[in-house]
């Protein structure tokens, strides 16, 4: 167990190192440089450009820039090139904004997809199963931005509530319940959109896991014993089918930061995805690189946690 932890930590650190190199190279070898962001701006004189480059070590060779950048990142001194604010602080603020979206979206995904998947596995081949399958394909295939506009048109036309942003603009000092409801209304659509793809994929996965388990011998034995159907489905089958999903708790971690660029920019939600998108537009390399790095850390941590959980949950696995 300890050796497994040690080995994977070393392995993941090496992977992270290469990820940092690759992302740094991708950004810096791409044509164009950040000091050319605004060549038409008359205030951007050559001296300014030179000072800018000196300030951010852009005149040094690439490997020194790399060392400077990650030194700054680990000591928490990285600043955005746009407004000189600390990158980590900016990311943290945006992360707190994205968090409710992520939490609500994940809750919706996990609470909806299990009943749907289990029911379609139990009544396999029936009308319910087939329509659920078809609907989940539709949900996987629907472009998020199109679905967002369909929902916006629907909600605005029938409920007459504003949905753009985190709260209604200029709401000021309204009663607390009103503020609360306002926040909820603004939260519902983006988190539902974030959940659609997840529901479709996860419910299909639940269904196939349940089918897999329902075909096992011990289920037949349980049936043959004359146990009631509920007990067979929910006690014998479901418990064993749940096994792979425990590990998926680790794998949803990267979703924290990936967020959704498109959905957050449609709803003007000041979250991580939108910040990353704005950073890409402004060629704000520190933010792009930090977001990349943090999300790589989350991916690696997620796989690590899911391996550990598997180890804890499944006694058959010995490493």
């Amino acid at each position: 167990m300890l050796s497994f932890i040690g080995r994977s930590v070393v392995q993941k650190t090496i992977t992270l190192f290469f990820v940092s190199i690759v992302s740094f190279l991708i950004i810096h070898l791409a044509p164009g440089s950040p000091s050319q962001v605004d060549p038409m701006n008359p205030k951007f004189t050559p001296e300014m450009v030179e000072r800018f480059q000196k300030e951010f070590h852009l005149d040094k060779p690439l490997y020194i820039q790399y060392i400077y950048f990650y030194q700054d990142l680990f000591t928490g001194k990285t600043v955005s090139w746009k407004d000189n604010q600390s990158v980590l602080k900016k990311i943290w603020e945006r992360f707190l904004n994205s968090l409710p979206l992520f939490v609500v979206g994940t809750l919706i995904t996990w609470t909806l997809s299990f009943p749907v998947g289990i029911r379609s596995a139990i009544f396999r081949g029936g009308i319910y199963d087939r329509s659920a399958t078809f609907i989940s394909y539709v949900l996987i295939s629907i472009p998020g931005f199109f679905f967002a506009y369909v929902l916006i048109i629907f909600v605005v036309t029938y409920f007459h509530v504003p949905v753009i942003g985190m709260e209604t603009f200029g709401i000021g000092d309204a009663p607390a319940t009103y503020l609360f409801m306002d926040r909820i209304w603004h939260l519902v659509l983006p988190s539902m959109l974030g959940a659609t793809g997840g529901i479709a994929v996860l419910s299909r996965y639940v269904r196939s896991q349940m089918l897999e388990v329902e075909g096992q011998d011990y289920i037949r034995t349980a049936r043959a014993k004359g146990l009631p159907a509920e007990q067979v489905h929910y006690k014998h089958a479901l418990r064993n089918a749940l096994l792979p999903f425990v590990t998926m708790f680790g794998l949803i971690l990267p979703g924290l930061i990936g967020g959704s660029v498109i959905i957050e920019s449609i709803f003007s939600w000041p979250g991580m995805g939108r910040m990353a998108y704005e950073a890409v537009l402004a060629r704000d390399y520190p933010i792009i690189l930090t977001v990349n790095f943090v999300s790589a850390v989350l991916v690696l941590a997620g796989t690590f946690i899911s391996d550990l959980l598997y180890l804890v949950v499944d006694p058959r696995i010995r490493l």
Binding site: Y149, G215, V299
Partner: protein, 390 residues
């Protein structure tokens, strides 16, 4: 039951083996024919393909039949099936069908023509991007699966790194040092190729032993590269690269292709690992066939099914990604229409001109859905284990 038993016993007494009653293709058709959703998907896909190809011919050229770039400011935001106002239009501005089949946008351009033009973009992006990713995936997965046990020697790694370094230096304008390093590497490769043929009876010096030591197996190396690539948030990575590179449809195809080969690599590696141990491969080796022939003639046809399935679904997600990029304003430069940027232009008029949102959105939905259904159908048909269960 009785009949089956009879048949079995008949077969049992037959001296010479018979060919199967149905060929593989007939079997495939029979199973595929039972999957109605997959048939629907295939049908829509063929329809879409025809639309895209005819659309390409109808909307390109100097005097296209449907001109997607024709601006008619006096006819803006006309709803679908609206008749053009003949008084205010020049004869060459009247749409070919005499009616705006899908309405016009905020510049009075014919949405039908733009949709036709965009279909070709979606089709090519899907196919080229997935083509690139499948090629890389088969190559990497095949090497990892078939030659995985081979080890890479330390000197190979060193001179590969040195070659990359040299190229990098040339790019960053340290031309002289870069070229010197590259030449040194080439000389070393040349030397080691020659040295291989000499007898190596003499005792090896320490440096050579270190250089020739096995560093890492091919399989480990490739799988670690896959792990590294999987660490990147894919849509954000694509967005970053596309935003940094000059806007062009080819860049999008290449970038989507280069960031989505990891799944295929894993499938192909797994298939190769299991197929490599099969008897027919051992037989082929015993016959003295070359590795090339074993890989492409004997293993690949057996390993291609999951690749086809994931490629079909990959096309769907590549089309979605491209639409998302166009929607965000990256992608094909403006006068050219794609479904994503028609929708993106229409978003300012969602209440006045909902067709600008719904027509491209529904089109993307249907095409992506057809690819997904077809892919899942293929998966069911090609995987006998799944087939038994349904």
């Amino acid at each position: 039951m009785n009949m089956v038993e009879k048949k079995l016993s008949n077969d049992f007494y037959i001296e010479s083996p018979l060919p199967p009653k149905r060929t593989r293709m007939q079997e495939f058709q029979r199973h595929f024919g039972q999957n109605r959703l997959a048939i629907l998907g295939l049908f829509i896909f063929i329809l879409f393909f025809c639309c895209a190809v005819t659309g390409l011919f109808l909307t390109s050229g100097s005097r296209p039949i449907f001109d997607p770039a024709m601006v008619r400011l006096q006819e803006k935001l006309r709803p679908p099936l609206a008749k053009p106002n003949l008084d205010s239009l020049q004869p060459q501005e009247v749409p070919a069908l005499g009616v705006y089949l899908m309405g016009t946008d905020d510049l009075g351009r014919d949405v039908f023509a733009r949709m036709l033009q965009g279909a070709w973009v979606s089709l090519t992006v899907g196919f080229v991007a997935v083509g690139i990713s499948v090629l890389i995936g088969i190559f990497m997965g095949g090497i990892a699966g078939y030659f995985g046990q081979h080890h890479i020697r330390t000197d190979h790694i060193l001179f590969t790194l040195a070659l990359i370094l040299g190229t990098g230096l040339v790019i960053v304008n340290y031309t002289f040092i870069g070229i010197v390093i590259i030449l040194l590497c080439l000389a070393y490769i040349f030397y080691s190729c020659l040295a291989r043929h000499e007898s190596t009876e003499k005792e090896t010096p320490v440096l050579k032993a270190v250089l020739h030591s096995n560093a890492v197996s091919v399989d480990t190396l490739i799988m670690r590269i896959v792990d590294i690539m999987l660490c990147f948030p894919s849509f954000f990575l694509i967005l970053t690269v596309v935003a940094l590179l000059p806007a062009s449809i080819y860049n999008i195809m290449i970038v989507i292709g280069l960031t989505s080969w990891m799944g295929t690599t894993r499938f192909v590696r797994a298939e190769f690992l299991s197929l490599r141990e099969q008897d027919f491969v051992a037989a082929a080796k015993a016959l003295g066939l070359s590795n090339f022939r074993i890989i492409f003639r004997h293993i690949m046809p057996n390993a291609i099914a999951p690749v086809l399935v994931s490629a079909t679904i990959g096309i769907a997600s590549a089309i979605l990604t491209e639409a998302g990029l166009s929607f965000l304003g990256f992608g094909v430069p403006p006068p050219h229409a794609t479904w994503g940027n028609i929708l993106s232009n229409g978003k300012n008029f969602i209440f006045d001109a909902p067709w600008l949102t719904f027509i491209p959105g529904v089109a993307i939905l249907i095409v992506v859905l057809s690819f997904n259904l077809f892919g899942e159908g293929l998966r069911d048909v090609m995987n006998p284990k799944l087939r038994e269960r349904h």
